[in-house]
Amino acid sequence: MRKYIIIGLALVMGSLTSCSLDPTLADSHEIDMEDDVSMRQFIDGAYNTMARSEYMGRNYIIAGEIRADNVYSNGNSGRFTLMSAMNLQSTDGDVTDIFRYAYATISNPNVVIATDLSTVEGSEANKAHILGEAYAIRAMAHFDLLRLYGQQYIDNGSNLGITYAKEYKAEDLQIPRSSVEDNKIDIYADIEKAIDYMLQGESSEWANNKTNFTLDAVLALKTRVGTYFKEYDIVEDAASQLEGKYEITPANKLVEYWSDSNPGAASIFELAQSTTDNAGINGLAYIYRGDSYGDVQAFNNLIEDAEFDSDDVRASEDMIGYESEDSNKLRNLGKYPSGGDRLGSDNIKLFRYEEVVLNYAEAVLETNPNKALELLNDLAENRNASEYDASDVTLENIIKERRKELMFEGFRFHDLARHGLDIPEVDPNTSNNHGLVPAGDNRFAFPIPRREINTNKSVEQNPGY
């Protein structure tokens, strides 16, 4: 009897030793890009990172506005105060966050670029298109980083640009900052590759989808990059390919264009946001309006300062105005309007046709002023603004028109900076005021985050920090 029980126990013991040490992973797995569908999901991961509030979901756009003459931080919730005052330090959260998430956006594209596509199943067009998107994302993120953390494009770009990340690995990689000129070369190279692959992928199911990079979106990016480096041939070439394919949003549709949750006719590329995937209170809607955050407020005399015509729809009270009758805070009301229960669910419009038109006009200003006039008036007509005469076709007016059209979308600071203009002081009585910042001031460039300096010994800090 005794023997049997011991055998019995031993059997129980034996049966319980067979537990496996190999875990089953329920919520995460090693990347396995087996087909074009998983490639799609993987590149969508990059758009998701791009849409985070730390990058295009809010902070990058605000960084292009709040250091200029459209808006300032009233400090209501303590957000963007230092950026508004242009008093940044290398340890500031916003300085670190934009840097981190712009580079994080590049990770997935770098993995796609490094993948041997012959091992991936699925349609060749789809695969090529996604590869094109990967190059486009890499180009755009680096261009964005350069505009914020690099020096201005002067002296043939021999000054400090940014680190150009071309692979995804964590070994003791220490990539120094390239020159602005080298960044330019890399960005153009990525754009050209993107165009090549997009052309191969023209029949892809995503070739006409406005919530991912498409050939048109890459061309729009090319006009933006070209305008920044004042390489107007490139701009003209790219912009002319888009001409006629898109429409400028008519004046009576402008408010609707911004509040529509689907991309409108003028949209070339938007970052998708949905009711379940959005930045919520950390998005643009909540920082431009409301009393909870609502830190980013327009200067009181913005409409006069920007020289809007009286009937200009862009300055109508649906676009720029007051949230309530007793409010004295001038607000961006029209762009990124979603509030309430759909808070922050607007798509983030990254490339609109109107920007391409303005880039085009600037590009042909010297070489083909008539074309420039035609382009400018196309826009003015659709904004209920007075038309330009041939004698009005000046760079100054184009910069003014850009301010009116692209207001609150993150362009203003870069437009002043790339033309070597001072950042003017608008209203000395506002909080977090940067005052007049002369062109060439060290504060034009963000500091390289302390975190990067600490971990990447080969990186040099920007002057003045």
């Binding site: 090693e30 340890t91 990770s107 940014i162 379940t276 302390r450």
Partner: protein
């Protein structure tokens, strides 16, 4: 009635014996303990015969014996005594508890040893020492009772787990809490909750605990090698005794009130200060209106928090079986008005001997724990202390004219009343939030253990045991749509379901044998397997259709819905061998080896061996010791070395992990973790040298220990350059080394014992030193412990320094000429800030008004180490005094040598339109009225210039304290009185906890800090006064 019969029968027997038998007679009597309590089931043997009996419920016995026979009286836990039968037929015997603590049995992991045989460092705490105290969980009551064990209760929030560190902090990124083993089965001790703190250790009813053993050094814990880097706490629960029956009832009712509060401005000073801030900065006034003087702190804290604890246990046994059943109910209110707990415990245990070689048993324990809590974020607008301490005092919480009854506006703010500005940071009305939002958790824990034990051969036994630990937790969090956190979402309700399982199987083969009376050998072999599965899912609804649906997620009641969840698994396999040998109880040797495989690591690096060695020499058992033993009754030298590991490293630290992310309506992948297949075990090598020293039959007993624990291959989050785009900008590598070393001393003594008066005292002190000896590339680490960016960056882990040191600018004081703060630069020179520009200028003490020479204060060059956050010493002093029927016990505890970053203090000196602490009254006002010399001139919205957003030594304080943790006075009713009611014992007592604290610390409580030494808006602890009854039948 029963008593009468007993007397009659005894009388009858005596008569009968006298008359009938002259030779063999019946001997009767009563066996009691020194207090006169009858001992049930004491054994009486006639030495040299097979005749024996046990005492009945009243301690009475009857046995037939001849004159000249020797009777042996024995009882577990008491000294055995003998009586020779003489002419008398009645022998009442009083047994003394086993006085020599060296004969006590201690648990050592997978077995027991006599204390005299132990060669490692083990501290034991009896369950009786800590019951009858109000505590959400048992471990907080171990504080101060054992050397080397530091237990910190970080505040008065019920559900928040105390921090337990045995011999310092042994890891940077991995777990630092000990392994808990209850009756031989590992006990899940990590919290499974989201927004409500729950402490899994609270699931164990303190009344069910017989004793605690703390295994501190490597030798003691090596048998748990792979999981013992942070020490092990073994818990033994109560069980029934053979041939006895016992009912215990205890009841306690207490009232708690905050031990201390933040000292804030009232309306009058508040208005002065607020408008001085604005006047200095040249902006218009903020504050006006003196209609109200609201003490928001009083509103959110309870002045009388009810504490109820009820326990009944029934236990006993027959010759072959024992049983124990207990039921507990507890209700505790926290210091915060929203914080309370309700708890039910049931525990049942049965053990049965089948025959002389086979026994088996099982335990079932079920706990139901309901907790209500609140937002307590240290940087959260609705964090109850953050909000209450910063809210304006000159506005009301309630407004009868508002339709809600609260002072709130339609646009979502708190009404500013007569003030010219809204409250800084738009703090909502915390009373509205506390009354309308809720944070609730209901957890259920089921533990089932079973074992079978077979004595196969003489000295050889086999034990099989299995433990199942299954816990669920349902959590609900609701934010009202009208005001506060939920207004941005138009209502927010989130529900979680956590599901956690752990099973553990052990096969233990042990062999114990003495040869020739001097060679004592013990061998143990164990095969152990454990698996753990943790999962949760959560449902979130925003945009609520009506507040009516705020109690539970209801189909289609929400405009927006989200779900989320995860699951993870971990497993460990272990094969263990241990040999102990001692020669004549003089020379002791122990060796153990353990081989573990851990699922958390890559298959190539999964298996690791851990060895432990120890030796001891009981000098006092040597023959040459002779007469010295009259004085020095015990002298023992111990030494040990062992390797231990840390398994608390996360489920998949080595894997390159990709998480899913939505992009619009599509699913995208994102990186979540960069993989590292080369990751190996994080391990700690522990060295311990100990000396035990007993005087006068161990009436005074000293222990001294030296230890050095060296943690190597720590799994460190190495920072990578953000430009590499690695998720979180970190990669996990084995890189760091760290050591903890120190001395520990303890003394236990019976100071007086003259029958009527007895005084036992125990004291311990530990000196501990932590040093980070190696970090990747020697680079400083700024750990991101907190979600609050104002706290991170001020804590540094630097090679050659203690873990988590404070790092910032050194503060000189206030410039008497202009009220500006003055700091030391890295080179020792002084700089001051210009309030208008935020720029720094050289400060010349002889010419303080001079602001001509530009300078700087750089976070990269001018910061320095401002102190260590780990205590250099800590300990406790525990006393128990009994006089006749009274007993008195009290415990003092102390700790010190650490520095605290008093973040709360800095925040309460805010220059925004918020309330301040009274410290601000000492500000610089003018050269003729320079204030306390520490607090600069005020400046509206100038936190950066006035207080600095980087840590400065101005907000670094010493954390030294002495506290009277508890004091209890009890009265035991006379036995004679109780006997008439058939009651064995009745005690009533009054107890006070958290009685007082002596400290120079300027905050509320120097213990109310994070594990990295930051005081960040903690919730004060309660001082609890309670009355209780212990009844035994």
């Amino acid at each position: 009635m029963k008593q009468k019969y007993t007397y009659l029968s005894v009388l009858f027997m005596i008569l009968f014996v006298q008359i009938s038998f002259a030779q063999k007679k019946s001997v009767t009597g009563k066996v009691t303990d020194p207090d006169g309590v009858p001992l049930l089931g004491a054994t009486i043997l006639v030495v040299g015969t097979t005749s024996g009996t046990t005492t009945d419920f009243d301690g009475n016995y009857s046995i037939s014996a001849e004159e000249g026979n020797v009777l042996e009286f024995s009882y577990v836990g008491f000294e055995t005594i003998t009586r020779t039968v003489g002419s008398s037929s009645t022998y009442d015997v009083t047994l003394q508890p086993e006085a020599n603590i060296m004969d006590e049995v201690v648990l050592v992991g997978y077995g027991v040893q006599r204390k005299s045989e132990v060669t490692g460092a083990i501290s034991q705490v009896k369950g009786d020492d800590v019951k009858n105290l109000v505590t959400p969980s048992f471990e907080s009551q171990l504080a101060g009772r054992s050397s080397g064990v530091q237990i910190t209760t970080p505040g008065g929030v019920i559900g928040e787990a105390p921090r337990v560190n045995i011999r310092g902090i042994a890891s940077i990124n991995s777990g630092t809490g000990p392994l808990y083993v209850v009756d031989g089965v590992p006990y899940a001790s990590t919290s499974q909750g989201a927004n409500v703190d729950i402490n899994p250790l609270a699931d164990l009813n303190p009344n069910d605990i017989e004793s605690f053993e703390v295994l501190k050094d490597g030798a003691a814990s090596a048998i748990y090698g792979s999981r013992a880097a942070n020490g092990v706490i073994l818990i033994t629960t109560r069980k029934g005794r053979k041939n006895s029956f016992e009912v215990n009832y205890s009841s306690l009712t207490g009232v708690g009130s905050p031990m201390n509060k933040y000292k804030l401005l009232g309306t009058k000073d508040f208005i002065t200060i607020s408008n001085e801030k604005t006047a200095n900065a040249g902006v218009s006034d903020w504050a006006a209106g003196t209609d109200f003087d609201t003490d928001w702190q009083d509103l959110v804290l309870r002045s009388s928090a009810l504490q109820i604890d009820q326990n009944v246990s029934v236990s006993g046994g027959t010759d072959m079986a024992t049983y124990y059943l207990s039921i507990g109910y507890g209700e505790q209110e926290g210091t915060s008005i929203a914080n309370e707990m309700e708890k039910y415990n049931i525990r049942a245990r049965v053990e049965q001997d089948f025959n002389d070689w086979l026994s088996a048993g099982a335990t079932i324990a079920v706990t139901r724990n309901s907790i209500s809590a609140m937002n307590k974020g240290n940087n959260s607008l609705s964090g109850h202390m953050f909000n209450a301490t910063k809210q304006l005092p000159n506005i009301p919480a309630y407004d009868p004219d508002n339709e809600t009854g609260y002072n709130i506006t339609e646009t979502g703010q708190i009404g500013r009343w007569d003030n010219y500005s809204n409250v800084g940071a738009q703090l909502p009305n915390i009373m509205y939030a506390l009354d309308h939002n809720y944070y609730k958790s209901k957890s259920m824990r089921n533990i089932i253990n079973a074992f079978a034990n077979a004595n196969i051969l003489d000295g050889l036994s086999y034990r099989f045991q299995i433990g199942m630990d299954y816990g669920t937790n349902g959590e609900r969090m609701y934010w009202n749509p009208v005001h506060g956190d939920g207004s941005g979402y138009n209502g927010y309700l989130r529900q979680y379901n956590f599901d956690n399982q752990l099973w553990n199987v052990q096969n233990i083969l042990s062999y114990n044998k003495s040869f020739n009376d001097v060679h004592n050998l013990g061998l143990t072999a164990v095969a152990e397997f454990q698996q753990q599965k943790d999962a949760y899912f959560s449902a979130l609804g925003k945009d609520i259709a009506s507040e009516y649906f705020n109690n539970q997620i209801i189909t289609d009641a929400f405009g927006e819905q989200e779900i989320s969840g995860y699951k993870e698994e971990q497993g460990i396999k272990s094969f263990i061998g241990r040999a102990t040998y001692n020669y004549d109880e003089r020379y002791f040797l122990q060796a153990s080896i353990r081989r573990d495989g851990l699922s958390n690591l890559h298959p190539d690096n999964r298996w690791e061996n851990f060895i432990g060695l120890s030796a001891g020499w009981t000098i006092s058992n040597e023959e040459f010791w002779g007469d010295i033993s009259e004085t020095i009754s015990d002298l023992k030298l111990r030494g040990s070395y062992a390797e231990t590991g840390n398994t608390n490293i996360g489920a998949y630290p080595y894997l390159g992990v990709y998480g899913l992310n939505k992009y619009g309506d599509d699913t995208g992948y994102g990186y979540a973790q960069f993989g590292n297949n080369a990751l190996v075990w994080e391990s700690t090598n522990k060295l311990n040298i100990g000396l035990d020293f007993g005087l006068w039959n161990n009436k005074v007993f000293f222990s001294a220990e030296y230890f050095k624990n060296e943690t190597k291959d720590m799994i460190i989050n190495k920072s990578t350059a953000p430009s590499l785009g690695i998720p979180g900008n970190i990669i996990k590598i084995n890189a760091g080394d760290m050591s903890n070393s120190g001395f520990e001393f303890s003394v236990d003594a019976t100071v007086v014992d003259n029958g009527e008066f007895r005084w036992n005292t125990g004291a311990n002190i530990s000196f501990s030193k932590n040093k980070v000896s190696n970090l990747p590339d020697g680079a400083d680490i700024f750990p991101e412990y907190s979600s609050n960016a104002s706290i991170n960056g001020n804590i540094i882990i630097r090679e050659g320094e203690p873990i988590n040191s404070l790092y910032g600018y050194e503060y000189w004081g206030v410039n008497p000429a202009n009220g500006a703060p003055v700091y030391y630069k890295g080179d020792g020179s002084l700089v001051q800030i210009d309030y208008n520009t935020g720029s720094y200028y050289v400060f010349d003490e002889s010419n303080p008004g001079d602001m001509s020479q530009a300078s700087s204060l750089s976070s990269s060059e001018d910061r320095k180490l401002l102190g260590q956050t780990t205590p250099k010493y800590f300990g406790g002093w525990n006393n128990t005094l009994t006089y006749k029927n009274f007993d008195l016990s009290f415990l003092f505890r102390f700790s010190g040598g650490n520095k605290i970053f008093n973040y709360t203090r800095r925040e309460l000196l805010t220059q925004e339109f918020n309330n301040n602490s009274t410290e601000i009254l000492g500000r610089w006002q003018s050269p003729s009225n320079p204030g306390d010399g520490v607090t600069p001139m005020l400046w509206a919205a100038g936190n950066g210039v006035v207080n600095n957003n980087v840590l400065t030594s101005r907000f670094v304080e010493k954390g030294d304290f002495i506290s009277l943790d508890n004091i209890t006075l009890g009265y035991n009713f006379d036995r004679e009185l109780l006997e008439r009611a058939s009651i064995d014992a009745l005690r009533i007592y009054v107890a006070a906890q958290n009685v007082f604290m002596i400290t120079d610390y300027k905050g509320v409580d120097p213990e109310m800090i994070t594990s990295y030494g930051v005081d960040a808006f903690g919730t004060p602890k309660s001082r609890i006064v309670s009355l209780g009854v212990n009844l035994k039948l």
